[in-house]
């Protein structure tokens, strides 16, 4: 059937770049399968020699219908999908969604859970920035940086693994609290991670800050003015690199960030180097926040770890008689959480998963378990719409949820920070060389899962 709609006609035509390009310039295609296009994104370039005259960014290769899927999942079940948005800092994605729901439900979270959330989201921020700078530096030829940063990230992910039971797709922060308490030995692992990250940051600073090759490729390349950045809706490190003071942790404080002492590093010029520098400085501030939180974190109300038995010992002893002592288990194992619920979960029983001890040992527990997971039951927020945002690795990560009173969101929309940054890429690389695309693209930290959703 022939189409008469003018917009449909444009759709049938070629890309904007091809329509606008002059006849004697060279067209070059970068991506979607290109080693420097982290994930999948396509940049089409119109070149005069090596200079970029015009460009077009094509996104959507990683579109998985996140928002549509969420409309068909219950509020509890869609949590794992949020992990897969910004897969380098899944915990902040969890946090954003969960806090939006808590705003809607009007839930207070215990203080200890708030501290755990802050520690986890700051660690995620560091892992996000590490990954960004690692990739950026590697593409400029500094492969050492990548290896160093990955080393530091491993130590951070050890903390994640110990606390959440997973390294990347954590689903740890739950509506009403966090999934499990911190491990009794978490301080050792966390201190190692902090020390190792400090060392790596110092090494990287020494290698890159005054490195002529790196400076030549990043200084005064892709300069963005504060006005342009605001006009594009930039947030996070990219906005701050242009010198605009805007950090959600300061402007709209959530959790316990208002009790923490930290600075917001700003850039001056808004070029690639400033974006690198702001990220480096921010990691140091995140480490500061973690150290303060470690000192201030309240002790567990439950005496859980005194007088415990190793699992192997307990099995041996159980052959003789019933074991009365507690068995030493990792807190993120299911079946050992009941005592800790008071520290890590809200008192509102309707919105949290009942502890497994109850589910397996009493009929009421089993009923409440089914009531939580059954269709049309479980978490049902009041009717209405709500927006809440947290400071993600890339900037303001906002969730916009519309509830119609059932157990599934009527609509869930995500304000992805790097969407707005990527929208500016065409303007940023305009007039530069082909080689400048790579560090520019690296410095904005495009995350495909978050961009395309």
């Amino acid at each position: 059937m022939p189409t008469t709609d003018p917009i449909e006609k444009i759709n049938k035509m070629t890309t904007r770049l091809q329509r606008e390009a002059s006849k004697d310039s060279l067209m070059l295609n970068m991506g979607p399968s290109h080693p420097a296009m982290h994930g999948t994104i396509r940049i089409m370039l119109e070149l005069d020699g090596e200079r970029i005259l015009n460009s077009e960014v094509e996104v959507g290769y990683l579109h998985r219908g996140f928002e549509k899927t969420c409309e068909n999942k219950t509020y509890f079940n869609l949590l794992p999908y949020t992990d897969r948005m910004n897969y380098v800092s899944p915990l902040i994605n969890n946090l954003g969604y969960v806090m939006t729901m808590e705003k809607m439900l009007g839930v207070e979270v215990p203080e200890k859970a708030q501290y755990i959330r802050v520690i986890m989201s700051e660690l995620s921020r560091i892992s996000d920035h590490l990954t960004c700078i690692a990739a950026m530096a590697m593409e400029c030829g500094a492969f050492t940086i990548l290896l160093y940063k990955m080393k530091a990230r491993e130590f951070i992910w050890n903390v994640f693994e110990q606390t959440t039971g997973a390294r990347m797709t954590t689903s740890y922060i739950r509506i009403g609290g966090v999934k499990s308490d911190l491990h009794p030995d978490y301080e050792d692992v966390l201190n190692t991670a902090i020390d190792e990250t400090r060392k790596v940051l110092k090494d990287i600073s020494g290698l890159l800050d005054k490195n002529k090759i790196f400076l030549n490729r990043t200084r005064d390349i892709a300069v963005v003015t504060p006005e342009t950045a605001i006009n594009y809706g930039w947030t996070g490190p990219c906005l701050r690199s242009t010198g605009v003071y805007y950090d959600l942790r300061k402007s709209f404080p959530y959790l316990i960030y208002d009790q923490m002492d930290f600075d917001v590093p700003l850039g001056e010029r808004g070029d690639n180097f400033d974006r690198y520098m702001v990220r480096m400085k921010e990691m140091e501030q995140s480490l500061r926040i973690i150290e303060q939180a470690m000192k201030k974190i309240p002790k567990s109300a439950a005496q859980t770890m005194a007088n415990v038995m190793e699992p192997a010992e307990a099995i041996k002893a159980s052959r003789e008689k019933k074991v009365e002592k507690r068995i030493k288990l990792s807190p993120n194992l299911e079946g050992s959480e009941q005592d800790k619920y008071q520290d890590i979960f809200t008192k509102n029983k309707k919105i949290i998963v009942p502890p497994k001890e109850d589910t397996y040992s009493s009929i009421e527990g089993l009923i409440s378990h089914f009531k939580f997971f059954m269709n049309e039951h479980g978490i049902r927020p009041p009717k209405g719409e709500v927006y809440f945002s947290v400071e993600g690795g890339n900037g303001e990560l906002g969730y916009y949820i519309v509830s119609d009173g059932t157990d599934k969101p009527y609509r869930l929309h995500v304000r992805a920070p790097c969407f707005h940054v990527m929208a500016a890429l065409e303007e940023m690389i305009h007039g530069h060389y082909v080689a400048d695309v790579i560090p520019t693209f690296g410095s904005v930290n495009m995350i495909g899962g978050e961009l395309d959703r």
């Binding site: 444009i10 904007r16 579109h63 705003k103 805007y246 209405g384 927006y387 916009y400 609509r411 959703r453």
Partner: protein, 159 residues
Amino acid sequence: MEKKKIIDELKQAFPEKIKDTSSEFGDDAVTIDKDILLDFVQFLRKKPHEYTMLLDLTCMDYLGKEPRFEMVYLLLSMTGKHRLKIKIPLPEKDASIQSLASIWKNANWLEREVYDMFGIRFIGHPDLRRLFMYDGFEGYPLRKDYPLRKCQPRIRLRK
């Protein structure tokens, strides 16, 4: 304090054009007519309000209700530390609205996304094409009447 002030001021500046105001869960929202959108955001962008950032732009599909669609604009004032939500109902028969691409540059992509997902037409948009889905994709996936598991043929390679 701030939120009460801004809504009252808007009511004074645009009498009879503001259909509804609300503060659900502490989020301030105003519902306006679609014909004053450009004037409205220009008013908010200026001093003393300085809603200089377009945080987000999206659409709702209330299938079965009239008007069916609702555009949602989220503005941020960094000086006033305040977010304001603008809602504009759109009927299904005339699902079109003025584009904001001339005011905010990120509106270009955001509106392309909404066009892609909901089929809303933006008047004055420089390059209204699909953003995430491929050319030749039929239908608008985030509309409520688009089935969750509908399959469409993969695109054929160009010869």
